[in-house]
Structures are given as structure tokens and as C-alpha cells.
Symmetry: D2
Subunit: 345 residues, 4 copies
């Protein structure tokens, strides 16, 4: 399987390279960058020196078609909207890592993303690739929309309890914390080291574009509309997302009930690890890996449950899940090329 | 005013020194450490070299009485319980930074702290020094119990809205995040650099001993019992606490209403800064200072408000507020010796 | 004394504000920014909220003259060259924090800074304000060139030994390490959090523009030309510079000899602290303060001495020393408004 | 090949696990810990949850012999001295990661390590496994002493130039900087987050036990005794070592000469990457990988060369090189199970 990567010089792009270079079913045949075409990728990313010395290609659908079977588009919002239709038109399979095809409603997209939406039929045709929930739906399809980083952590953590009816769908609060790589390699004051280090900073409070994505899936799981309160914080670390989630309990469930429910729900899904009762995951425990770890704390005093899920935002929240989706799309084992131990410490 | 500091070799202790050494109304006459008596404080804290070269005294109430008028006890929980009565007995004024005298109920103390409580009459006599709420109560008293770090941030942020009846007392969720200095200078695996750096780690979820302290004050403000959901996270930074707080609105209030309510409530209180509408505070913006900054985000979609407050846990969350309480106790301006600009970046 | 600050929105500028706002002999009458004139300084620096709410002025020498007696120019290299002559022409006193007036040779300036140099007579008239070495020379002068951050740490550390003839002037190697704030608030890939965190990165090896500044002063101290090897490293921290310096010994000196030599040399100079034998300074031990701490290690095996000096690059390496120079210029005690305890931890 | 790991709960131990678990020629048959025998390794290292759920074995040579062919001893200095002879006696192959068998002279060991040395014949029989220099010597041997972290970085960087006679062996200065993981998982004040973060701290200046190890190999390369000046600094990061090395040139060599010399010397050795002229490596560019990257800067002004080498101290500086040595010992390709892309950012 020949793959091309658009947006190779972003953090999502180089992370795709890190995994795909060792993937037994894949050959990287084109690394593509609109801004750095003609340069060596290793010039901008010296860690790739003597590992991947390719020159970056420009964005040319016909050339991609000549070189590749599948294209990963790790492009900013607003770019994929225009590029993906061209790639599909020439017969390429596409796994899109931007947010442009996650929302089924173009209106919602425009409201939250402040860009013009893709055509409605394209939005409908994109299969939302939250692997552990929609893995069957992506088999054999030509076009997958890869989930956002926060939605991946939030939805894997909330899904089973909401589906089981254990928590009140109107009571969900998601306190999200992310490392800085989630904002990409672009330079601006909010990624400046001296502004981030020894600092914890809220952003886009109640305004994050991942809100409608989370609600869309929760509605699908719950069977009726769900609205969530969602706050995001920039945390002084490079990688990692944690969602600390709060909900009212619909019954008298204990920690071990949650452990059991989730263990059964995710049985056989290697990349979701349910933590033993009384323990909670930390972001470093999934560093550099495709795992999503989940822990619970029921509070009898308040009849609420606290659900904590962590991922590496660049892996399970982007490149790793995209490759997991490629595996599922192709009918391969979903762990192929992805089963690495987290880097600790 | 001569002051002694018990627990001078802890982070709270050296921070008291940092401020008191320049305080115009105060002279440090004894720095005390049970574990390091006889050593130079600058040996363990070279930043004090040529600034404070005192030898550490042992813990001896009679000697303290001979040297000082007021004692700050920056001691671990369980130690103050025993020490403070002796200090009061010899006629010293005491400002206690441990948690031993914050809860009025000995039973609650025992339940959450797992230590034997102080005698009931002592618990009753301690005045809880949340300066902006109980500043009048500490004037002239001999014994102040200094608030905890999380409670300070949480209560300053929740108080005005709850008192005004704008939020539902049964709906309060507090997502707390703290830097590592909050756990003190003691060495253990959870303060090991390699375990904390590039990591975000929940701890004591629904079990933190600051829960009853928060609830006790909220009940006082609200006029009836309040239970809160409270989660704490260890964040990869040295200083800083952020409380992100969620509550249901009892009416149709906008961000600017909150800004106005809080600005009026805290008018004249220099150390609480209400952020302009649409902006939220970051921990670094109060670094090294006694400020508590508060911002708001009302979500019309969910009829909830998100209130975000930040402090420097070692200053407003410990040493700074203790000195603010000394100032209030003595009838001085509350900002005396404390009005420093945050260190940024 | 009325002071204006050009470049108030840079890190050097806000640090000047942090100290000057409490300086008993000074009133800040104008904060100036070419790029942000008309905006509130607190908008870009929320930590100044309710502390300094001034609107930023534009760069206008006549207006500065109307408002101020002394101007601090915390401007990028190449800007001061043009601005300072105008300020001096209208009769303002100037303390320049850029590198534009540190080198006496315009040719050297052009070679290392790649800008056109200031006129030769201006370069000659600027008094180089390494306070502990040239403090007498700055008294009463109208124009001071404030030293660079690395040169301050390096020269305070090397000066006494070189002057005493204890070390070989041809053998000096300086291994410099700096926090990221040294590069200013400008955004670019080398200040991006994800590129700096968990990273140690050399830059400008043998090419740093501080090399000729160091050599110029060492020549003055030594009495003959000195060339040094100087390497700089970007370290994952916000503040702090350490220079680890190596030189051959000209005789048989022990650690305690160095401690004594330096203690005597810097006797009475409050901001240089010589460390006791067998101990070395760490950058955090001077964090936020104007101290320069120095330690030694003689190696009998190699007949070399290792001298280690640390400063806070934004304070002693920029704003703090500039204020120290103001104090000296005015005949005030050099510690006025600067004698704060380092912020630790 | 069945392998056992003594010291599995240290950072070197878990890093061995991270690589060996995917090594095609190896099966981990026993994870061993003197202090935590009987516990699950995943209890102390939750990142291994559902990946390696083994119970830790105690230290029992006979049991090791029954379970394994090769033992990695990732034990503290002083422990291997006693344990390794027992393992060799029962016929196990041993790769020792402690420092106990690196020095050929027991006297030197005692002087620098302050422990009793191993018997002289054992010190002689241990083959020093600096893979790129002594790879041929380890083929087929039963007992390899794995190099220290600093020596690996320093020796790979200095070796070719010294061997070629390009640098003066009496002029070598090594400025070493290390992340905190190098000191292991043991808890003490110098690994406390609040003491390390935003701090740069020298330690063991001219006294580090890696000095004689470096000199022993340099003497072997140079053909006559070499003494070096070696300073070590604790850097606020978890992983990574950089050695910045200075030496006088014996002739007129330029950067590109060094690039060529080193490229030829290390031709075919995948884990040493020579950087292109005018660029220098950063520690993050080898993060989590077995690479050692080397760059150069000749200074015509001073006739010195600055050589900069970086490794991940836990990988090439410990576990990775140990596995590389296993590969060489067994006659396998040295990259087997080790050829991962560095984790960036």
C-alpha cells in the first residue's frame, strides 16, 4: 500500500511518518508540503536525518494519484474542504485529519469553524473514524474523517456509561487539558515557551470547535440530543490530553461497576485500557503511544461520577488513530504498526 | 513586631521569609525547624545566602515567647494540633498554616485528615482567615487558621455568585489543578521530576481533605449545606493553582453581569482582580504574588457558568495570605509588605 | 526622577516596570512601544492588570523629553543606533539595553551584528555599565550602555582571576547556557514550546555577538588582547543564564584561594555573592533577583579551574543591572529598588 | 533467546523492557527486582498495564539460570560487583549496566566510586561495550560491561578526532549536561520537581566517576595517557545528554573536514549520525532512540574545535546500547529491535 502525506511538516504529519516508516503494510511514497515543497524534510526535522531524506513534494492531486493509493491529509481547517474532493475525484482513498469533515451539518461547521463548509454530500459520505466506536463502518470505505483530539479522549471516556444509561446526558461537564503540540507547529504568542512554561492557561472556554463534534457523537450514542459544557486548558507540556468528565449518576453504581462495564465494552480493543478500581491514568503513561487509558471515581456524597481519560494528542488524537483507521479500512489488524510501548519516563 | 517561623525549611516557610524580610512592620527574630535545628538556613536554601544567614532554632515554646510576639506555624498536619496550644498558652499570637484548625468539626477533621483532632474549644476559637471574606473577624484576635490553597482559589471564585443566589448550590463542580510545590519539599515518587515533567496526573479524586473546608465556608455563605465535587490534578509546574468551576445558573446572567457583581463585591480589595469580560486568567499572571485573578464564561447553551480563578499556591495559597492576615490582625493595611508585581514571564 | 521606557512590551521592558514601579526614587511617566502605541500595556500583559493601566505611547523624542528625565531603551539591535542620538540631542539621559553601543569599534559591531554601527563618537561616549567593574565611571554620565546578559555572567566570573593573573588569558573557554526569555517575546520556531521543552539546543556556536563584548572587557582587565571560545545553548527554562568557564591556572591555587580572592574583590558589592568552597550556584537561586552568584572548582589533575556564574538574564542580565546603573548614575545606593530575595522555588 | 532483567523497576530496566518486548530474537522470561519482588511490575509502572503484567521475581541466580540465557543487570554501583560473579558462575551471559566493571583498575574504581572493587580478573574479563568502537570485541563473549551515559556521548564525539591526531589530547574539556532520569528513580532532593524545574545546576564538578572511564578509553584511542576536565550539569528535562567538547587543533582543519572524517569513521554504523556542516544536534532530536548525533564548529580565531554530541541517556546511554551489545554478542545486526525513529516533538 503506497501512501502520501499532505502536511508532512506539521506535527501530525511527522508523527504519521514516525509510525508509517515501520508499518509492515505500507510504503511512504510522497511527503507533501504546500509551504516547503522542494526542501528536504530532514532539513526542518533533523531527527529524521538519515532516516527519511525525501524531498517534499508540492500539492498536486495528479502526482499523488501517480504515486500513492491512500492519502493522509494532515492539513489545517479550511484547506481539506477544497483539497479532499480533488483527491477523491482522481480515485484516491483519503484519511483526513483536519476538522473539515467531522460535522454532518455544514451550518454547524460554519458556526464553529468560521469557514465555508464542504458540500453536504461530501460531509455525509465521510465516515467518522472513532475506531473503537465506528470501526466496522470504516471497513472498505474510500474516505474517513479522523476524529479530533479532545473528542477522542472525551467520547471514549463517556460513551459506554451514556450508552448504558448510567449517567444523565444533560449533566455532562468536560474539563479538557492539552499539551502545546495540539496547536501545531505554527508560531504565535500562545506557543511561545516563556508564555507557556510554568503556566496553565484556559482558552476558548465554551467556544471550542470540538464541542459540536462531541455532541454529535454523544447524540448518536444516547439516542437524543446532548449538550455539554466543555472547557479547554493549555498545559505546560508538549504531548498529552486529559479529559476530566463529570456527570450525574442515574443509579447507584460503584467504581468497580464502571471498571466492569468499560472492560466489557472495550474487550478486545487493544488501545483502550481500563484502569483498575481506585487508580486514574496520567498523560505520560500513554506518551508516544496509541493508547487511551480511562479511570473512574464515583462520589457517593454527590451522586456524581468523575471519569478521567488520557491520550497522546499527536498519536491516538491524530496520527495514530488515522493509521488505526487505515488498518481497519484495509481489513488489517487494527494494531498493525502501532503497538508500541509508551515512552516512560 | 517580632515574628518567629516554625517550619522555616518548608516551601511555605521560606516564602514567609521572602516577604517578611522586607515587611516594614516586622522583624524575623527566629527561624525554626524541628529537623534541621542548629544548621544555617542558607545551607539548605542557598538563594538566601548573604540575605538571611540565621541558624535554625529548635521548637521550644518558651524560647519563642522570649524572642517573638507572633508565630507562623508552617507545619505538617498533625503537628500544629499539638504545638499551637502550647504557643497560645505562653501568650503568643499564632497564625497557623497547617490544616489542623480549619474545620470546626473534629469529626470531619478525623474523617478527612486521618489524624486526631485538636480539642473542640480550640477548633472553635481559631478564626478562619480567608482575608477577603473574613477580614473583619481576624482583627485583634490571637489565633488565625490560614486557609488551604485550593479553598482560597475556589472560595474567592464561588463566593459572590453563591451569596447572590445566581448559581445552584447543589450543582457545583470544582476542577482543581496545582503545581508541585503544593505538596511541599518532602521527597517521594510523586514529586520526582521525571515522573511529573511532561505529565498531568489526577490525585485524591473526590477524597481531598480540602473538600470539607470548601463546603464549610460555602455553607456559611449560602446559608445551607453545600456538597461539591472536587477533583485535583498535579500539573507540571512549580507554582500555581487554577480552579475551573462549573455551576448551573439560577437566572439569565451574562459574562458582564458576573464581572460587575464580582468587581463590586471585591471593590477595595487589592488582591482580588476581576478579569474583563471574555478573558480568563492564567496562573503565571499571578506568579510570585498575592493576587487572586478571576474570570467568567457563561454558556447560554447549557445555562451553566464557568468560573476560573488562579493564585500562586505558595503566596495567596499560603505565606502571602498568612501575612495578609497578620496585617489585618494588627490593623495595618492588608497589602503591607505584599504589594509586589507578579514575576512575568 | 521621571523615567520613560522604550520597548515596554518586550520582556526587558516589563521587567523594568516590575522593579521601577516600587523604586522609591522613580516615577514611570511613559511606557512606549513602536508596535503597540495606543493600546493598554495590561492588555498584552494581564499580570499588570490594575497595577499599571497606562496606554502605550509612540516613539517621539520630543514627547519623551516633555515627560521624562531618563529613558531606558529596551529596543532591538539596530533600532537604538538611530534612536539614542535623538534622545541625547534633546537632553535626555539614556540607559540603553540594546547591544548597539557596547562595542567601541564600529567595525567589530558591523562584523558581529550585521547592522550599520552608530557614529564613532557616540560609541566612544557610551559608558559600559558593568556595575561592579565600572560603577565609578557611570556616576553622573548622561549615557550608559548596559551590558549583555552572557557578558555580565562571564565577566563577573572571570574578571578577578584574570586581573590577578591567576589564569592564562589564552586558555579561556566559556560554555554558556540560557533560558528562552533571553531571545525576547518575538515568535519564531526556536521559541516554540514544543521545540524547546525536553530539549537542549546549541546555537550560534563560535558566532555569538557577545564574543567581542566579552573580549573587549577582558582585554581591558588583562591589559592585552584576549580571545575566548564561547558556546551558547538554549535550555528548557524561561529565565536564567549560567556560564561554566574553564581556564588554565598560572599557579597552584586552591578553591579557597578563589573564594577569598573573589570575596575581597567584590566586598561591599551586594549583588555578587561568592559561594562557599565546594559549592556551586544554580540558576534558580537567583531567580527574579539582581544577584550574580559565583562558585569555583580547581582540578589539580588538569591544572585548570572551573568557574561557574549564574544570573537571571532578565534582571542582572538586563533590567536589573540597568536600574543598578541608574542608581549609580544618580549617586544613589546601587541596591535601591532592587534588593529582592530570589523567588524560590 | 531468553532474557532476564535485574533492576526492572529502575528507569534503565523499564527501558530495556520497552525495546526487548518487540525484539524479534528475544523473549523476556523474568523481570527481577530486589525491592519489589512479588509485586506486579505494572503496579509501579502503569504505562505497562496490559502490555507486561508479570510479577517481579527476586534476585536468585539459580532461578535466573533456569529461566534465562542472558541477564541484563541494571543495578546500582556496588551491587553488580557481588551479583555478576554469581551469574557468570552458573553459566549465564551477562550484560552489566552498572559502572562496576568499566574500569580496568580496581584502585581507580575504589577512588572514584567509593566502593570495594570487583576482583581484578573479573575487571579484566569484562569487555567494554562501546558498540561503535569495540563492537568486534564483544562478539561471542559471555560478559559485557555497558558504557556510562556521559562516556558514550563524549567518546563517540572525541574518538575519531583524537585517533586521527587532529586535536591535542592535553587540551580536552568536556561540558556535560544531563536530564534528570540519569540519576534514576530514587527519591531525593536533587530529583524533586520544584528544585529542578526552571533550574540549571552543576554537580560533581571535576569529581564525576565517569572521568576515569572516559580517560581509560581515550588513552586506548590516543596511545598515551589523557586527562580531561569534565563538568556535569543537571538540566530541567527528563531525558537527554549533551556533551559540548573543546580541544585545541593540531592543524588547520575546517568544519567540513570534521564532517568528512567522522562520516568515514562511522560509515555503516547506523546509530551515529554526523550532522551537516554548520548545524549542531539537539537532545530532542534523538529522544527515545538509540542515535548519537554529532556536530562541529571550528573556530579559526582560537584554533579550537567545539564538538557537540547528544544521546538519549536512557537509550544509547543505557538500555539501547545494552541491547545493541546483545545484538553484537549474538552476531545479529546491531540495529535489531532498536531502529525506531526519535519521538519528536
Amino acid at each position: 500500500m503506497k501512501v502520501a502525506i499532505v502536511g508532512s511538516t506539521g506535527y501530525g504529519g511527522v508523527e504519521l511518518i514516525r509510525f508509517l516508516i515501520h508499518h509492515p503494510g505500507v510504503e511512504i511514497t510522497s511527503v507533501i508540503s504546500a509551504s516547503s515543497a522542494g526542501e528536504s524534510i530532514a532539513a526542518g526535522y533533523p531527527h529524521l536525518n538519515q532516516i527519511l531524506m525525501d524531498t517534499l513534494d508540492g500539492v498536486d492531486p495528479a502526482e499523488m494519484k501517480a504515486k500513492a493509493d491512500v492519502v493522509f491529509t494532515a492539513t489545517p481547517s479550511g484547506v481539506s474542504t477544497k483539497l479532499v474532493p480533488q483527491l477523491l475525484a482522481v480515485g484516491l482513498k483519503v484519511i483526513d485529519l483536519s476538522g473539515d469533515f467531522r460535522l454532518k451539518s455544514g451550518e454547524q461547521y460554519e458556526h464553529w469553524y468560521k469557514h465555508e463548509p464542504a458540500p453536504a454530500e461530501l460531509l455525509q459520505s465521510a465516515v467518522y473514524g472513532l475506531s473503537e466506536w465506528y470501526g466496522k463502518d470504516v471497513v472498505g470505505v474510500p474516505f474517513i474523517s479522523n476524529p479530533g483530539c479532545y473528542p477522542t479522549a472525551a467520547l471514549l471516556g463517556l460513551g459506554p456509561a451514556l450508552q448504558a444509561g448510567w449517567i444523565d446526558g444533560d449533566s455532562i461537564i468536560i474539563d479538557g487539558k492539552s499539551g502545546v503540540s495540539g496547536a501545531g507547529r505554527g508560531v504565535n504568542l500562545t506557543s511561545h515557551y516563556a508564555e507557556i512554561n510554568e503556566n496553565l492557561k484556559p482558552y476558548k472556554v465554551n467556544r471550542h470547535q470540538h464541542i459540536p463534534e462531541i455532541e454529535q457523537v454523544l447524540q448518536d450514542v444516547h439516542g437524543k440530543p446532548v449538550t455539554v459544557t466543555f472547557t479547554t486548558h493549555l498545559t505546560p507540556m508538549t504531548r498529552g490530553i486529559m479529559c476530566t468528565m463529570y456527570a450525574k449518576l442515574n443509579g447507584s453504581y460503584a467504581d468497580h461497576d464502571f471498571v466492569q462495564l468499560y472492560s466489557e465494552h472495550y474487550a478486545g480493543r487493544r488501545f483502550v485500557r481500563v484502569r483498575p478500581e481506585g487508580t486514574w491514568p496520567a498523560t505520560k503513561e500513554v506518551y508516544g503511544s496509541n493508547y487511551c487509558d480511562i479511570g473512574f471515581s464515583v462520589d457517593k456524597r454527590t451522586q456524581r461520577v468523575t471519569i478521567i481519560s488520557v491520550i497522546d494528542n499527536v498519536v491516538k488524537g491524530a496520527a495514530g488513530q488515522a493509521i488505526q483507521n487505515l488498518n481497519l479500512m484495509m481489513g488489517w489488524d487494527e494494531t498493525t504498526g502501532l503497538s508500541y510501548v509508551p515512552v516512560y519516563p
